[in-house]
Symmetry: C2
Subunit: 172 residues, 2 copies
Amino acid sequence: MKNAYKLLYPMRTYLIVSGRGSEVNVMAADWVTVVSFEPPMVGVAISPERYTHRLIEKYGEFVISVPDWDMLDDVWIAGTESGPEKIKKMRITFVQSKKIKVPSIKEAPANLECRVIDRQSYGDHTFFVGAIEECTFDSRAFTKGMPSHTASFVAHLSWNKFINFDGRIREV
Amino acid sequence: MKNAYKLLYPMRTYLIVSGRGSEVNVMAADWVTVVSFEPPMVGVAISPERYTHRLIEKYGEFVISVPDWDMLDDVWIAGTESGPEKIKKMRITFVQSKKIKVPSIKEAPANLECRVIDRQSYGDHTFFVGAIEECTFDSRAFTKGMPSHTASFVAHLSWNKFINFDGRIREV
């Protein structure tokens, strides 16, 4: 059953920003979901071995940044390298968030600012639940309250393989 | 912030099977994620208003069925209609699961059999966490331990719009 989780793939890939100043860090995470509609809350499962885990525990805040296809090299660096050194290799720009001190990523089509309201340990990961305090987004990527299919959202297929959506939509 | 969760879309859509016998039910759920690698665990956020919620509370088990593009009509029925009556409208076949009493769906490329190990209330939803006890899958959809991009996996774009993946893969 060890790899049964792969049956849920491809899953979307997001970036998790944590910390601040010289401690700021970015990791890639697929294990992200919504947990409440009202009030809006999201959850993310993070290994305690990650530097991001320590920073979320320390500051109680994180940003979920939504990368697009053009950011795939940065997603890869964020997902495979460890610690704050990798930030220097990434071609991203941190910008001040609106409600929390963890920065957002300028190049990302969307950033969700989250304040931790719960943490639970499940197996080898911690599930951090955050209330969405604020969000910013590019209106080209999200128009009329829904994701634009022309934006190249990224899904993770397997270890080093990523896939995007084709723009073919079916309305039911 | 009410609709900020839409910034995480498109998200994969899954079917959640619960109950047994005449009480068996199926709902569509986007808010599904992995929460632990070892032991393997998944979580799903479900509104307490759902019949599925009552059945998961009662039996402590659920199946995550992975629908493909051909099952989209069934996904729509499962997601928009309520109660067990809808089952009769769906073109799915229940088959016995291997380890739990909640049935799997024959037509689905994959079924993950889960036993509830925790429940948490977050806002207007309950987050059920399940240990993956067993899984079954179609080897055409999942080959060599990864999802085949030729299988038409389904993602939810907005209310009545669904999107699939295009098969263009980038290896980094």
